[in-house]
């Protein structure tokens, strides 16, 4: 009797573990901000492919990396998952996702940096559909109050420093930087300064740490000095991107780096602010740079229905559908001409895209950025000066690069 019961439970557990997907079913995990648009596209897809039924599951970005990783490792993954570009390499190297070279054929139509992210071992492991970079969002009213011309934002580092200084008055901080929360926020905001100064975190061949070289050190100093010189809020060490947006809305931060996704919530929560957008200032004789972020589709290796999964992903990758699904910009150049991307407030963000770069594909990338982030925090805490802190970070990073 007991054995029988056990057998029933065991069978039930196996069925649960293997998921509820049957042939012809495709489960697609997409983040909550995509939900409405995803439903429309799914309806379109099911019309065109009556044999395939798509089951949408809505995820939230908080804790998503852990959730996706757990699903991938457990062997009970859905057919298609939306993930951030930078996560793909870890999945590919741990043999958790399928190669999608047979799905994505028109490589020329994609922004190259987006494909860089999804490439490992000269194969493609994800299909980028959404890309974005930061620009600087600023408060035009605060510019006027400080006697600056809001239509002539700073273009070089020196001008940005002078502007931040002029804007910092009373409760207002001139230029907000991040130094806390999820470390990706700080990588996104500070690494471009290193790049535009001609430096990098690690060498192109992935063999040498470069964060303590003069170009990187100067950029890190430039970034952290906004806090040292009290042009960034006192709470910098606990601020992430969201906190900066809140402070901007509360009109205690006059300018900060972010993506176009912040604009809607600023407009909603404090309609009084006259929002301006500028390119990220660069050293006087050099070009600007930005870190390219965004989202891709991956097909887990343990997906029950890879054939239909590839069919769905192929459909989603069509220019028109990418253009419809993305919250920011599409990864395909041909989709960029759609009318929804011609809003004037997006102009500067669009101008920044060609300067967008991918982070290196290194299996220890997260640990490398952690070492760098710890270094930034040591500077902000006042424990060490920039050179010493970056020397320490370089040593930690070199140890990670030397691992087999």
């Amino acid at each position: 009797m007991k054995l029988k019961k056990l057998a029933v439970i065991a069978t039930a557990m196996t069925m649960l573990a293997s998921g509820v997907a049957f042939a012809g079913d495709v489960t697609w995990w997409t983040p909550n901000f995509n939900e409405a648009r995803a439903r429309e596209i799914v309806a379109k897809f099911e019309n065109a492919n009556p044999n395939v039924k798509v089951k949408l599951e809505i995820t939230t970005s908080d804790g998503l990396p852990q959730r996706v990783l757990t699903a991938l490792q457990s062997g009970a993954a859905p057919e298609v998952i939306d993930v951030q570009h930078a996560w793909i390499n870890g999945y590919a190297q741990n043999d958790l996702v399928l190669s999608v070279d047979d799905v994505l054929k028109d490589r020329d139509d994609y922004i190259p940096a987006a494909l860089d992210y999804a490439t490992w071992n000269s194969k493609l492991w994800g299909i980028p559909y959404r890309i974005e970079t930061h620009a600087i969002i600023y408060n035009k009213g605060a510019f006027k109050d400080a006697g600056l011309d809001p239509n002539k934002p700073p273009q070089t580092w020196d001008e940005l420093v002078a502007t931040a200084k002029a804007l910092s008055k009373g409760k207002m901080s001139g230029f907000g930087i991040t130094g806390g929360g999820e470390m990706g926020n700080t990588i996104f905001r500070s690494l471009p300064f290193i790049w535009m100064n001609g430096g990098d975190m690690i060498s192109a061949d992935g063999k040498k740490a470069l964060v303590n070289q003069p170009a990187a050190v100067a950029a890190v100093k430039f970034y952290t000095d906004f806090f040292k010189n009290k042009q960034a809020p006192a709470s910098t060490l606990e601020n992430d991107g969201t906190a900066l947006r809140r402070l901007f809305i509360a009109e205690t931060v006059a300018a900060y780096q972010s993506g176009q996704f912040d604009i809607a919530s600023i407009k909603k929560e404090n309609p009084k602010i006259d929002i301006g957008v500028m390119q990220i200032p660069h050293p006087a004789d050099k070009k600007t740079a930005a870190l390219l972020g965004g989202w891709s589709f991956v097909i887990p290796k343990s997906a029950k229905n890879p054939t239909d999964a590839k069919k769905l992903v192929g459909f989603l990758a069509e220019a028109e559908n990418q253009g419809a699904l993305t919250d920011t910009f599409p990864a395909r150049k041909s989709a960029m001409s759609l009318p929804r991307f011609s809003d004037p407030i997006l102009t500067v963000f669009k101008e920044m895209l060609p300067y967008g770069r991918a982070v290196p594909n290194n299996k220890n990338w997260i640990q490398i950025t952690q070492a760098y982030f710890d270094g930034i925090q040591r500077i902000l805490l006042g424990d060490e000066d920039v050179q010493k802190s970056m020397d320490g970070a370089a040593k930690d990073i070199q140890a990670l690069l030397d691992q087999k």
């Binding site: 007991k2 741990n94 929360g181 809020p233 006192a234 606990e238 952690q370 925090q377 902000l380 087999k404």
Partner: protein
């Protein structure tokens, strides 16, 4: 079938479930710790890589500091609260329930709330203290290297002292009244009752509770991770968070497993020493 083997058949399902839920993960962690991402045997490479990281010793000392600091105050405040709640006064039932609140609130909720209360710009603590003139300008409680760990310990103490209080209170209530009466006949005052009757009588409870606190402390992630994620600059990084980071942020399960194995060994040693030193001695101390 003799009696023994029949018995074995009956416990077999439970043993199988136990093996699946306990032995398999432990064995798999051991296996992960000596292999690379592709599953090839690499000996002790993962261990040396983890030990070589600058964060590892720092996290270890932080763990001892966090666990030790928390437990001392949890036990002291918890026991004091229990003795207080054991007295007769009006509204005792209400006060007892209120004391339990921090223990009932889910850890993540409490941590997020405290994080906002301690926030430099928006936090109510800075708001009240600057408003009352206690401090001239806002303090970065969670970003100042010297305040962040004490603040986290305080939050952890706040969260768990009610548990100690309730356990010790239960112990206090089982003390026979004769002991107090005899003491009073001999002219004992309140403090003599506390030190010569109450504490010796609940000693075994405190020992057991402290052991639980040690184990929970060594495994605690929620409060620190939700508030500082181990920052700033690893000031509050404790080993469980380092393991979590390695596994789920860096997707480096092998190094995470290696660190887990070492941490397990250390935790085991601490617990064994503790049990040998305290739990096995006779329950009464004069």
């Amino acid at each position: 079938m003799d009696r023994n083997s029949t018995g074995l058949v009956f416990v077999l399902p439970a043993l199988i479930v136990l093996a699946m839920l306990v032995a398999y993960p432990v064995a798999y962690t051991g296996l992960l710790s000596v292999t690379d991402r592709q599953g090839a045997f690499v000996g002790l490479d993962n261990f040396s890589a983890v030990l070589g990281a600058r964060a590892t010793p720092q996290a270890f000392w932080n763990t001892l500091w966090f666990v030790g600091g928390s437990i001392v105050f949890q036990v002291v405040f918890g026991t004091a609260a229990a003795i207080l709640l054991n007295q007769n006064f009006i509204g005792r039932g209400i006060v007892r329930s209120i004391t339990l609140l921090p223990w009932v609130v889910p850890g993540i909720v409490a941590a997020t709330t405290w994080a906002w209360m301690f926030h430099t710009e928006f936090g109510i603590i800075n708001y009240m203290m600057t408003g009352a003139g206690v401090i001239p300008e806002p303090i970065g409680w969670l970003t100042n290297g010297s305040t962040v760990m004490p603040v986290l310990i305080a939050i952890n103490v706040w969260k768990l002292f009610p548990f100690v209080a309730i356990m010790v209170l239960a112990g206090l209530q089982s003390i026979p009244n004769d002991l107090y009466e005899a003491a009073r006949v001999d002219g004992a005052n309140f403090w003599q009752e506390v030190f010569h009757i109450m504490l010796p009588q609940v000693r075994s409870v405190i020992v057991a509770v402290t052991l639980l606190l040690v184990i929970w402390g060594l495994n605690s992630i929620t409060i620190i991770y939700a508030i500082t994620r181990g920052g700033p600059a690893n000031r509050t990084l404790i080993t469980p968070i380092q393991i979590f980071r390695l596994a789920f942020e860096s997707t480096n399960f092998n190094q995470a497993a290696a660190l887990s194995v070492m941490f397990f060994a250390v935790a085991l040693v601490i617990v064994i020493i503790y049990i040998k030193a305290l739990a096995s001695t006779p329950g009464e101390v004069k």
